[in-house]
Subunit: 249 residues, 2 copies
């Protein structure tokens, strides 16, 4: 049992909260029994599981992962967890190897920065069968906060990261890019039954999409009779995905 | 200029972060220039505006509200703001008087508890023209966190709070209740063009809807070919609202 918050291994795990250290090691942490279960079910390699002695669920997860549980004190758990009220287990897992953009329906995060929104988009993408593509400049999809709002979606759909922010990255892979913004063509008037894979592009929460991109792609919008131009970015991305999913051939 | 964090008026404002004190006084706080602008545009009475001396936007808002700005120090602003990095202004505003359930398309929050989700639902409801009905046991719609994720939606649509958690509260007002859950009728097969107002009922994030309610109302679902039964509660509520809005007669 590890009780020292200065334990070297604990310090190494704690360092995974920094994006750079996740990139260098190719590992991240997942927190709580549900996420860990999803990671194991998704075939992700689990390196270590840290849990309180009282945590019965950790043992079951460890058995499924084929490894042991390292027991830690409450202090140590708090040091490696990122949530405000950590419950454990906290597990160190491999980040899946990078994959190229596949010719399938996609949601493109164009420099999206809010971890909660990005996680929620990943969750919806997994439910509706969408690949998630994140351009360079987006938040790290494997940050613990993004994993938390992803609620397991990370382990059930393809995630492509660090894609160059250019339309060529999408069209080159056979995707039909559709920019999303408040002043485009009403999506209700667009035929979404085309067999070619669609790629809805969602911009940064504060700045939207660059005008250079919008001038080169069809821009689509959601009608808002309430007179506002305000929807949460994850909500609007999710509605676009639902609409394509329900018309997909 | 107020520089003492023990100032009596500042303590009174700080107390508004507690639900009970908001209920007793009928007031809440709105934070940041955008929300304050929306509150004023929505005709809400503004009692006081606190801002840093450097905050130029506060002066304009105060002019629109017909009152003065009370300048405060950074310490004092942090004491009355609820966000992690408060920027001000922080204003004390009236919570609108309670209204009864109106016979119009509605989203019903049935003991929903996450402030971010509830605010996001209010934001979507305002965009798509839905009344928001919250049962007793839901989070306070006028909590600062809910206002923050509402992004002004609070001031652009009707909010009905403290409704008894019973179907009669809805049917009695002429609404057609539709429970939302993962195992109901696929919403894509439901005719949503009926002129009678629809009321989509969204349950608690952890416990869903009570089975007693579900046995008495039609239950509708979103198809999820990804094989998961997992969508964020605000996302699924928003998709249901979009679908009704786009078929509304």
């Amino acid at each position: 049992m590890i009780t020292s918050t200065r334990n070297q291994r604990i310090n190494e795990v704690r360092r995974l909260r920094r994006r750079r250290n996740r990139a260098v090691t190719g590992m991240t942490t997942v927190e709580g029994p549900f996420l860990l279960h999803e990671a194991i079910a998704g075939g992700v390699r689990v390196h270590e599981i840290f849990a309180l002695p009282s945590d019965d669920e950790a043992g079951l997860a460890a058995e499924n992962a084929g490894i042991g549980v390292t027991e830690v004190s409450v202090d140590v758990l708090q040091r490696i967890a990122t949530s405000v009220t950590p419950r454990g287990p906290v597990a160190v897992v491999d980040i899946p190897k990078p994959v190229p953009v596949a010719p399938t329906d996609s949601i493109v995060l164009w420099e999206m920065s809010d971890p909660g929104n990005v996680g929620t988009v990943i969750r919806t993408a997994a439910a509706f069968g969408f690949q998630v593509i994140a351009t360079k400049g987006s938040v790290d999809l494997w940050a613990p906060k993004v994993l938390r709002s992803g609620v397991g979606g990370h382990f059930r759909t393809e995630l492509v990261e660090n894609v160059a922010p250019s339309l060529d990255s999408l069209t080159g892979a056979g995707l039909v890019p559709l920019a999303t913004a408040a002043d485009g063509v009403d999506i209700a008037t667009v035929d979404l039954s085309d067999p070619a894979p669609a790629a809805f592009i969602v911009g940064n929460e504060a700045h939207g999409l660059p005008s250079a991109l919008r001038s080169k792609a069809t821009t689509v919008s959601l009608s808002m009779p309430g007179g506002t131009e305000s929807l949460n970015a994850a909500v609007s991305a999710s509605i676009f995905m639902y609409l394509r999913m329900s018309q997909r051939p």
